[in-house]
Amino acid sequence: MAIRVEAWGDYALFTRPEMKVERVSYDVMTPSAARGLIEAVYWHPGLRWHIDRIYVLNPIRFAGIRRNEVKSVVSVSNVRTVMSGGQKPLYIDRSADIQQRAAMVLKDVRYVIEAHFTLTDRASDADSPGKFQDIVKRRLESGKCYHTPYFGCREFPASFRRFAGGEPLTAYPGETKDLGYMLYDMDYSDPENITPTFFRAQLVNGVLDLRDCEVVR
């Protein structure tokens, strides 16, 4: 049972893992970003989303944005010291911790994501594919979501709706673009050792077909 979600927004940033200090986006949405987007609308431990196809409806265009960013993260050890009564500075000094970083982001994106889900062993007896399917369809139609989905980073929110039907009209009919190796998803099966997986992305007629792609790590 497949669903089709149309998602669009002004900007997107699907960061290439090899260029993440000064971030550069992939040309198109990664399967893991698409999964995250759908999970923002509906997810349940009893199901797992699989991305089948990503249709690229708008031409791929980039824009550069440089921002002042904080380079530090919250230090958990400092928090623990303070929690147990110690003295540690508990803030980030923005003038000392700031870095300017550029990002090459995508502009004016629109995708149709085709996905299906399978049940996991955490699905209870009361759960069924029909039930999950109905919930996700209702949410897509009424605009309900767990949190607002986004394209790669939270500052690039995504609007979404159930795709109306028919064949999505892509920006690249009759063209084949080799996008090189792209992140497929993270493999979380071993929580101690989360590993990225990759695939060779071919954009055929504006469609990224993920159903039979070879996933390498």
């Binding site: 944005i65 958990v76 009564g85 003295q87 500075p89 980030i92 605009g143 949190h147 986004y150 500052e155």
Partner: protein, 298 residues
């Protein structure tokens, strides 16, 4: 911890700038940010979030529970006693818990969320210690902001200024004054859109009703305490809030945002807009779906 909010919200902020630079672009010598393809002005999400943090810091003055994590370096070290008050712990019990409490990462997260308004609102990234299996990871806050974009293309203007005083002795010997530049936007109205997820408030950070009120206040007043030579006259003109009747929401955000239209009062005017009065802001209340309440502030 206060009760988390129960409703999802979407909001539109309309703010304007007069003879100022709302957000300089470090890539372009501090020219106001704009999209070179369309000339529409841009203000980044982080710029607006900074203003919200600054407002809360000014108003709350580091009151318990309303500290700001990312601030401009005023050391503060009086957090210890408060920390206990929040958790009802003493140092011994924390140490004991550290050994065999698998929820310590959650405690660390909750501690940060309860103490820091900005973490409770926008989230934070915490370091992870794999060797301790302490994984606080990423805290996603309920409030999410996009980039603001101007209603019409902007035309940044370079203003050359002179100063009579000179900085160094050497300069004083050879010249009387120096030239400087600043960039201004003569006038522009910007629109930003944001989202508040009640789910993330309930399940992660405990962002409550009071916090939400403070957020709206902070947005409406975000430029009031942020005057500077560079920014000129900036003001939030309107904050339009869409309150959903439920936690997950009652309508798609884009449909709600589409009900707010901003147009030039005189569309055929040959002159560019120079004040807020040149614009009409309309909210098509008829088109707002059932289960969504419109609240206008500012």
């Amino acid at each position: 911890m206060a009760k988390p909010i129960k409703n999802r919200y979407d909001f539109v902020i309309l703010f304007d700038v007069e003879n100022g630079n709302p957000n300089g672009d470090p890539d372009a010598g501090n020219v106001p940010r704009f999209d070179p393809e369309t000339n529409y002005g841009i203000v980044t999400d982080v710029c607006l979030k900074r203003k919200i943090r600054d407002y809360v810091e000014t108003v709350k003055e580091d009151a318990p529970g309303y500290r700001i994590y990312i601030k401009s370096g005023v050391p503060l070290n009086r957090s210890d006693a408060e920390a206990y008050a929040y958790l009802g712990l003493d140092s011994k019990s924390v140490k004991e818990r550290k050994k065999d409490d698998p929820t310590l990462d959650i405690q660390v997260r909750d501690f940060m969320c309860e103490n820091f308004y900005d973490i409770r609102t926008f989230g934070a990234v915490m370091t992870t210690f794999m060797k301790d299996s302490l994984n606080c990871g990423q805290v996603r806050g309920p409030v999410q902001l996009g980039f603001a974009r101007s209603i019409e293309p902007i035309y940044p203007q370079e203003v050359t200024i002179t100063r009579l005083a000179v900085t160094t002795e050497e300069d004083a010997a050879t010249k009387n004054n120096t030239m400087g530049y600043k960039y201004i936007v003569p006038y522009a109205l910007y629109r930003a859109e944001g989202y508040v997820s009640a789910n993330l408030a309930r399940k992660t950070t405990g962002f409550g009703e009071e916090d939400l009120e403070l957020l709206w206040d902070a947005i409406v007043n975000m430029f009031e305490n942020d005057r500077s030579a560079g920014r000129g006259k900036m003001a939030v003109r309107q904050l339009i809030i869409f309150k959903h009747a439920s936690e997950l929401g009652n309508a798609p955000s884009y449909k709600l945002f589409d009900t707010v239209t901003v147009t030039r009062k005189d569309p055929v005017s040959p002159l560019p807009a120079r004040s807020y009065r040149d614009y009409d802001v309309e909210i098509d209340r008829e088109a707002v779906p059932e289960g969504v309440e419109v609240i206008v502030r500012g």
